[in-house]
Amino acid sequence: MNINELTSSASRATREGFGAGLLELGRQNPNVVGLTADLMESLLMQHFQKEFPERFFQCGIAEANMMGIAAGLATAGKIPFTGTFANFSTGRVYDQIRQSIAYSHKNVKICASHAGVTLGEDGATHQILEDIGMMRMLPGMVVINPCDYNQTKAATMAIAEYHGPVYLRFGRPAWPIFTPENQKFKIGKALHLASGKDVTIFATGHLVWTSIEAAKELAGQGISCEVINIHTIKPLDEEAILDSVSKTRAVVVAEEHQRNGGLGDAIANLLVHKLPVPMEYVGVNDSFGESGKPAELLEKYGMGKKDVLWAVKDVLDRK
């Protein structure tokens, strides 16, 4: 597809896609149950709760217990979806996830909203930027970061079909919708968004749209970018990555996360073994966030369109 054909006419938050997906899933699969730690409406889980009150468990502000209960529900055959902010879904409960869910290979879906700096005004206490790294280090954990409302809805429904622990990461702000409605979501299958020959931009989450906008601008300057949506960070679609990189031989990775430990490191780990090429990261450089508006924060912390443009030019200089 040509980059200029990727357009958006509406915006909605990815967390709304989660809420919509969970409701639909509830109607399709009686084994799906929901849990929250006092953030039901922030994750739009009230739709599921209203329709299936007996399958929804309010845990109060007690995330560790919520993870343990989810593990127990999964043990006895349910498919629990836990919902809280990404910060409280990972760092706060890492040991519970590690022992009771990951090591025990429980079919728990850890659904995490308000990830990254786009959470905005609440500031750095809530803006987790380390979660992808923590979760992808756990053996057997699937890590997914969809890019818009439609894809988050599709991913929410798809993970119920997979048996095993999953970390599903999404965000707070309204964000451009550009993927098709009612799409099929395949875990671990990268989505090729635009063909190009000079550089490949691998992006995940909110920064997929940012990368598309940057690629459009670069196209106007005669730079041809391949844009690939890596919605599943683990397991990584190695074949799609190597196919593209063997053609472009220059890589930019864009994510709303620390440069340490995220998608960039996952791809670097693959390329350093199989196909070393010039590579640049777009992400937070070893820093905490702060209060502000999402767009301001993305700019200030190195995850704006300007940062993708700079990164592309930098790798092309090194090619």
């Binding site: 149950v33 845990c59 007690a62 209960i69 519970q96 022992q99 090591y103 290979h105």
Partner: protein, 283 residues
């Protein structure tokens, strides 16, 4: 149901297994294991409705058990093996490379009888609540049992779980606390006092039962049966079970010092002599 004289023999044999397992690899946790022997023998031999073979993770229409204080794996492994979950001779692989009998219980190697990993403390009550909720959703009338240590209650997650179970009226759940008053660094009263434990559980909305003689097999059976009768009445049930750490081996008894220590050859021989042989035979 096995008769009481068989179960008493089994208690002795399980104690022999515990000491031998820990001695064999010179590591493991004999103290709490010996103290909870009557509990495990009573539970698996007389109380649980369960089917060891084939082992099914989901355990539908069976009673389920979750061990929260996973370090007392020797007693659990011995009782599981001697209840038919896996071959008794496999006890000889405890803590050795490529074993299913990991230092702390795990599902990773597929050991029948274990439904979740434990060892990092404070997580078992939550998992047991989840399984109890699933049974409620499925209209499954069987119960979920859980054992936790007393020192383990210093973990905040336990209290989160206690609040949840009372609020959501999880009354198909029976938790037992191994109230031996000991933890690694010394008596709980000296490390972090648990205070008035019965009052705390009661204040958290649980139906509280106290068992003074946790190393008396018949008393444990009677108490577990009583707890079953008290379940299903709108409150989760807890048994605060007083035991002696290291019970049955004089030099291990009543002290925290044998929490996680293996006996030497001389101590091993002394322990075995004290315990005496049984018709069940060693692994």
């Amino acid at each position: 149901m096995a008769d009481i004289s068989y179960l008493k023999n089994l208690c002795t044999q399980v104690r022999r297994d515990i000491v031998r397992m820990v001695f064999n690899v010179q590591s493991g946790h004999p103290g709490g294991s010996l103290g909870c022997t009557e509990f495990f023998v009573a539970l698996y031999g007389n109380v649980l409705k369960h089917s060891p073979k084939p082992f099914r993770m989901e355990g539908k229409n069976q009673d389920l058990f979750f061990l929260s204080n996973g370090h007392i794996s020797p007693v659990w492994y011995s009782v599981l093996a001697r209840s038919g979950y896996f071959p008794v001779k496999e006890l000889g692989t405890f803590r050795k490379i490529n074993t299913r009998l990991q230092g702390h219980p795990a599902t990773h190697e597929g050991l029948p009888g274990v439904r979740i990993a434990s060892g990092s403390l404070g997580q078992g009550i939550s998992a047991a609540i989840g399984a109890a909720l699933a049974k409620r959703l499925d209209g499954d009338k069987r119960r979920v049992f859980c054992l936790t240590g007393d020192g383990e209650l210093e973990e905040g997650q336990c209290w989160e779980a206690m609040m949840f179970a009372a609020h959501h009226r999880v009354d198909n759940l029976i938790v037992t606390v191994d109230w031996n008053g000991q933890q690694i660094d010394g008596p709980t009263d000296q490390v972090i006092s648990l205070g008035n434990l019965p009052a705390k559980w009661k204040a958290f909305g649980w139906d509280v039962l106290i068992l003074e003689k946790g190393n008396d097999l018949e008393a444990v059976i009677a108490m577990l049966r009583k707890a079953k009768r008290r379940s299903g009445k709108g409150k989760p049930v807890v048994i605060l079970m007083k035991t002696e750490m290291g019970y049955g081996v004089d030099f291990m008894q009543g002290t925290h010092k044998w929490h996680g220590k293996a006996p030497n050859q001389e101590q091993f021989e002394s322990a075995m002599k004290q315990l005496g042989e049984t018709p069940l035979g060693d692994f």
